[in-house]
Point group: C2
Chain length 107, copies 2
DNA sequence: ATTTAATATTGCAATATTACGATAATAATA
DNA sequence: TATTATTATCGTAATATTGCAATATTAAAT
């Protein structure tokens, strides 16, 4: 118990849920919003901006990375994270398709 | 620890995360898809269709209900659940706004 | 009134998530 | 090469989520 039974669902359903899970924390929403507003992005800024400890921010960044949403490039000792545009578009399309495919025909 | 620090985020960020959390489980994705395909919907159908125990389905339905996505009306001893169109549209708009407001300008 | 069928609630075990202190790794700078 | 600054990883505590058996609730049907 306590484990999601992923094997009984389609891969599309599992993927949709996994993407949603990444968006299911306000810190990750805030991180995405903040990165998009900056020209570049340095992780320390995020720690100051958001108010969670550095390891916690690092963990959240990792969750976002896992679904391919972050491109990171080192600029000297600093790390510049930014959003992968192509992947972002993909996710937007997935959500849009999901929302529009649900059609309500009862009650 | 282990509690999300909601107080350090904006209500918009918290709401976004909360909605995403409901979509962050394949069973709930499957439930929404199934309901939308049916004329009506009875919980037992869902139990048969999805393959989780009846109390588990009931719990998932409750999560979906919490964000106002389900309208339910009893038809005799059966319960007909359906998706609240207005609320659904609202959520679609929120997601769309979120995705389009993120603009990538680095790297 | 009993029985039956459908859904909800309770209680609990297993696992996942969130958060952070301590520490490691990495690379620029003195 | 030591120091410093930035980010990652490890270990751990607290809380949340998932899932189900047992049971309660509700209302139709007998």
């Amino acid at each position: 118990m306590g484990v999601t039974k992923t094997h009984i669902f389609s891969s599309a359903q599992n993927e949709m849920a996994q993407i949603a899970k990444v968006l299911a924390h306000p810190a990750r929403i805030a991180i995405l919003e903040y990165i998009s507003k900056q020209e570049g992005c340095i992780c320390t800024d995020l720690v100051d901006e958001i108010g969670l400890a550095q390891p916690t921010i690092s963990q959240h960044l990792n969750e976002i990375k896992k679904i391919g949403l972050l491109k990171g490039s080192f600029e000297g000792k600093n790390l510049c994270y930014c959003i992968d545009e192509e992947r972002w578009q993909e996710l937007q399309n997935s959500f849009n398709a999901f929302f529009t495919n649900i059609n309500q025909n009862c009650c």
